[in-house]
């Protein structure tokens, strides 16, 4: 554990000056504190509640080259390098991120640039903004990705973030996204991972919502190596609504851990959470979702569901829906299921002439259809149906539809 952390502190001791030179001042400000946190805590062990299902030290142990390349942001409306952002980012940068999380601290320590997506008040972004993260390199590489999303009052935006990997190297991506959804704002944030078995992804999203804001986050892990996604949503203004949906398809030795917190700090807010996993071969899935209804957060409405399909006996799923309520006038539900392919349905389909393989595929696809159908943006929905079908057929190329590979 200590060794794994040491490689990063050693690196920072050498490269800290270079990082500071390359970075915007606002990003340098919290580095000392981040270094202290990271050095003191080290990587979280499985004894740390929120990292119970993932061996962080093991994921960060390999010797990676660490990417320190600044961003190139050209011609994308509303998107800026942090140094070129049209607003003062100091009140936003690193304000939501968990200061006691070593993985987040490591990102704060090593990030050299950040992408700022800023949507001014009353502005409705017409076309979805797509951010493609493409991992490429000649050697094993770690990248630290930082995104700041600021939606002012009544701003509206759809953002699609995709993760892809071009080269067959070990990649470790550690991302932190901070999202400020102002009063009355609406945000649809989609994340789609299609990398490969040698990729490790750590994602930490911190979301703060104002009054009557509506945020929907949909996460698709279609192909990966090791993935650990954290999302903390903090409902701070009355009438705020948050939807957290996710879908995981994993086989071989893939590992996907989704860990969420929805913090109902005030009353009259709604949250809905639906995560579905299809696990095959020896894949391991984990879901831990905590809903916290604070004292006084009356009239909270919250639903949390995690449903899982283990297609083999060697696939494993850990599921932990959690509901903590400190208010007395709320409507909340939470639940999870783990099941196998329905044999009756399988036989029914085979009797109609559908091969066993095809029938299994249709049943798996049917299982996650609910998550795809919940997406309000039709072109993405259609695209995901195609991608999921290809994925289940084992035909998903690692750069499906990617310009760079054509």
């Amino acid at each position: 554990m200590v060794e794994a952390a040491k490689q990063y502190t050693d690196f920072y001791a050498q490269a800290g000056k270079l990082i500071a030179e390359r970075s915007y001042g606002v990003m340098n400000a919290p580095r000392d504190e981040a270094l202290r946190t990271f050095s003191t805590l080290g990587f979280p062990t499985k004894k740390v509640e929120r990292y119970k299902y993932t061996d962080v030290a093991e994921d960060f142990a390999p010797n990676y080259g660490i990417g320190l390349t600044p961003l190139q942001v050209k011609g994308l409306p509303y998107c800026h390098r942090i140094s070129e952002a049209p607003i003062d980012v100091a009140p936003y940068y690193n304000r939501l991120a968990d200061k006691q999380d070593a993985v987040v601290a490591l990102n704060t320590l090593l990030s050299v640039d950040a992408l700022v997506i800023y949507v001014p008040r009353n502005t409705k972004v017409q076309h979805p903004i797509q951010i493609s993260n493409v991992l490429k390199g000649e050697q094993n590489t770690m990248v630290n990705r930082r995104i700041l999303i600021v939606l002012e009052q009544c701003a509206e935006a759809d953002i699609v973030i995709t993760d892809k990997a071009m080269d067959q190297q070990h990649f470790l991506a550690n991302q932190v996204i901070e999202v400020f959804a102002g009063d009355g704002s609406q945000l649809n944030l989609y994340e789609l991972e299609e990398t490969h078995l040698l990729c490790t992804r750590y994602s930490s999203i911190f979301l703060q919502q104002g009054r009557d804001s509506k945020v929907r986050h949909t996460s698709f892990t279609l192909f990966n190596g090791h993935t650990r996604n954290r999302l903390d949503a903090c409902l701070q203004g009355e009438g705020a609504e948050v939807v957290l949906n996710g879908c995981v398809i994993a086989d071989k030795t893939q590992h996907v851990d989704n860990n969420t917190l929805i913090d109902h700090q005030v009353g009259h807010c709604q949250s809905n959470e639906l995560y579905k996993y299809v696990l095959d071969d020896s894949a391991v899935g984990a879901f831990a979702g905590r809903i916290l209804v604070r004292e006084g957060a009356q009239k909270t409405v919250s639903n949390e569901t995690n449903a899982n399909l283990c297609a083999t006996h060697s696939a494993r799923m850990y599921t932990q829906p959690m509901l903590e309520i400190y208010a007395d006038d709320v409507k909340c539900s939470h639940g999870s299921t783990v099941g196998q392919i329905n044999d009756d349905a399988l036989f029914y389909m085979r009797q109609r002439g559908i091969s066993e393989k095809e029938a299994r595929l249709l049943l798996k696809s049917a299982f996650i259809t609910e998550v795809i159908e919940s997406i309000p943006f039709e072109p993405l929905r259609d695209r995901l149906h195609v991608l999921v079908d290809k994925r289940l057929r084992g035909e998903l190329s690692k750069c499906e539809g990617c310009k760079l590979c054509k």
Binding site: N342, A345, Q351, L363, S365, A366, F367
Partner: protein, 252 residues
Amino acid sequence: MIMLQINNLHATINGKEILKGINLTVRDGEVHAIMGLNGAGKSTLSNVIVGHPAYEVTQGSITFNGKDLLKMAPEERAHEGIFLSFQQPVEIPGVSMVNFMRAALNAKRQYLGQEPMSAGDFLKLMREKRKIVELDSRLTSRSVNEGFSGGEKKRNEIFQMAMLEPTFSILDETDSGLDVDALRIVAEGFNKLRTPKTSAIVITHYQRLLDYLKPDIIHVLIGGMIVKTGGPELALEIENRGFDWIKDEAGL
């Protein structure tokens, strides 16, 4: 021509023997009815014919148009022309009727060496076949059997039969749970699909369905064996007298 030939068929489920030596011959164009008490093995027989993996054939043979059926996977049997109208059709949430039927139809076409059907032709075929059982288009745009009433599920079975055009069909208590109108629609639908080259086994407890289907031969299955075979008049006699006299006759 003999279509289906069953010889001395024994079958077990979870080690328990249910079928104890069934002999049955179905020729082209014939409709056979199988009647008998609950638990006699009627559904087991139909499940064994279609290759349900829960049942194990311990003895005997089934040939279909001269081919050894027991060597085939359930889907191959379907491609060869065998269709089971399920006693309890299964709900498959998330799989649309359209995708389900298209997958089934194209699998069969592939087996027969034909090109997949175009989307346009397929939808046209669905519309056409739907009429046979007066199945609402609202139902075919839903997930397979999800939220269908009992009667709608049975109609949907005959609709699927119309789509797949099997040569040999098994109707396993297709009349159970149907009101008189639905029963008539289902039975008339089945009759519309009959040709001199198609045969069927109809499993039922009631004369009413047989009034419509007019089977050629009636079998009585008791205790895993066919104990009596006769013409259509046998069904009427069972309707009037029950099964006890047959049991007595057979010495059971």
